[in-house]
Amino acid sequence: MEPIEAELIAAVLKGDAASFEPLVERYSPRVFATARRYARRESEVEDIVQEVWFKAFQKLKSFRGEAPFEHWLMRLAVRTCYDFLRGHQRNRETTFSELSEPESDWLERFVSQPETAQENAEAARLLVARLMEQLAPPARLVITLLEIEERSVKEISALTGWSVPLVKVRAFRARAEMRKLLAKLAKEKYL
């Protein structure tokens, strides 16, 4: 931890709330980037990030300073995002019937000539975002951390507070859930 950061945290703990502002300023970009992985609407993203900072302020006493502040904050951010996903799971869509034209075209291309369907296409990104929204919260979190952010199981365990075996079990189930959704997509689209 940087010395100045330690001083700021010590000052906040002594009652100087204003010392918290430089920390908010410094780490908000990272927290925003994390929140944008789980929420699409900008108002929701802002709510999540604000919640992260409120929790950080309230729980600052529990920060022991052994690990960098950023790690502690990111744990808080991931857990807040997970709470958000659990709170909004009723909003999950259940149909693929509303695929946009580029998404449908990309799928068609994948079926006819898989090698021509580019991974960096905007349509593929939209499709995967749609798919992620339909996953259950634990599945979405573990796929994001493990497959998209390419973190290790140990890291995920530290971030989420789940045990290593639990992360592995949830990752296995998440991949199966994703494949099930893709099968559903194939069925809706081609039958």
Partner: protein
């Protein structure tokens, strides 16, 4: 129909589709843009949360105290009405009050009383 579906699934190669979509997701890095003056807003809310209105604190405490007070009042009422009824003959409340108020006078008037 079912065999058509499995054929479609086979031709679609779900594993490969999943892999491609994951790679697609990796190529998109979410923006780390922070809205203008966001930290000021957070700080304003934090300070507002920290110093709650004094009046609302009092009001909250009084509201919380109201229920136990009503409970105690009801218990005492029940005790004074039913608790003493089982003790024997109904007391003459006016006479008892009279005795209590005039206890000192009665004691002085009595010549046998010694301390």
């Amino acid at each position: 129909m079912a065999s058509d579906f499995s054929e479609t699934q086979d031709s679609m190669n779900l594993e490969e589709l999943q892999r491609k979509l994951i790679v697609a997701a990796r190529t998109e890095t979410p923006s780390d843009r922070v809205p203008y003056a966001f930290e000021k807003r957070v700080m304003a809310r934090l300070t507002a949360r920290q110093s709650p209105d004094e009046l609302s604190l009092w009001a909250g405490a009084l509201w919380r105290a109201a229920a136990p007070c009503v409970g105690i009042m009801l218990l005492l009422t029940a005790w004074s009405l039913f608790g003493r009824a089982g003790a024997g003959a109904p007391p003459d409340l006016s006479q008892e009050l009279d005795n209590t108020v005039l206890a000192a006078v009665n004691q002085e008037a009595s010549p046998d009383s010694t301390w």
